[in-house]
Assembly symmetry: C3
């Protein structure tokens, strides 16, 4: 099944790619690899989530924020492949950062919301390597930021 | 000398690769590069170290934890090369995260325990680029997490 | 215009590459990619900036520190290209870490000082993908650390 047909069946609309918040590009293609800049939980041009997990942000909201980062990664991949997501050969790596209180240890569960999305959308090609870590602060005080390395054809 | 002969001489047993703690793969091969997921100080199926460096974890234990992360990276590389570690052409990069108190600045010394291991095991091929940073929180409250990018042949 | 002519016009002297502070190499070339190790704000063999942004380090000084990290990245690239910076085909990615207080959200502005430098020096080839995150601690208590992935020819 094509990725677009799969997205339709899943009821997922790929949003407009989020513009960078500073002097960088949303993605770079080098050879057959795409480096996608750190995506944050922007939705319809606004931050959908703000704050620190374990403080003002629940684990449930952190998962929703991570899923939104994943959706924004896919939006960048759609632009990187000139609209043809079937050219995504493999999600190579996700790098997840969770803005959290000291002692919070559920980063893997939070970033899973993005990982699950990749597998739902791309099937086996969406299965990836990953790092998930905590941090005390993120840009614009978002709870989650995720970047990606992706192989395309 | 083969890597296996070298490991024998060093008295190092490569452990069973650690299973991912969430929905990701332990490594992805793309072209001749292997991206190894963030490894944590698991030993025999259990966490060998837990806590924050400068608080409940000493610098010495942090080094032991980093070495264990390095050993788990090599275990993944053994799986990625179908058991033939001589196919490791170059450790390209280690990315080290140290769960530590504010003001702790010895991340380079901690991550060195993994770097030293790479050089001991792979010789010049084990010499790599690196980033080492601190963080206020890591998955499962481990003191160290390290990921890797590796060229194989 | 050649990169060297451009540097002259900009009045920028590329410093001597900073030696690693531990057991790693300043850069690794794999295929046509260069992985540059995390660079810190060293100048003339000494740390030019120390401390945490939002505490003892101002945002303005953090930007100066980030620019210095960028300069040190270019110094490593000059070594990686045997002195010929025209061989830099594309800055693929910058990974920026800002040692900051909780709640600080201007990492993008801080890391921009390095991003702006890349674009000033390399033109369109200097435009890159990026991640910028906060952290509670960095090596030697520096305020900024930046690593890079670069395509050369």
């Amino acid at each position: 099944m094509s990725v677009e047909a799969n997205l339709k069946e899943l009821g997922i609309d790929i949003p407009t790619p989020v513009a960078p918040v500073a002097n960088y590009l949303p993605f770079i293609v080098t050879g057959n690899l795409v480096s996608v800049s750190g995506q944050i939980p922007m939705q319809d041009g606004k931050l959908a989530f703000e704050g620190k997990v374990g403080d003002t942000v629940s684990e449930e909201d952190a998962c929703a924020a991570a899923k939104l980062c994943g959706l924004n990664i896919i939006a960048q991949l759609k632009a990187a492949t000139n609209g043809d997501l079937n050219r995504v050969k493999r999600i190579v790596k996700l790098g997840g950062f969770v803005n959290c209180v000291d002692g919070f240890g559920n980063q893997p569960k939070v970033i899973n919301a993005a990982s699950d999305l990749m597998v739902a959308v791309f099937g086996d090609k969406g299965r990836h390597s990953r790092s998930a870590v905590g941090t005390n602060a993120l840009p614009l005080n978002v709870p989650v930021e995720i970047d990606a390395l992706v192989e395309i054809e």
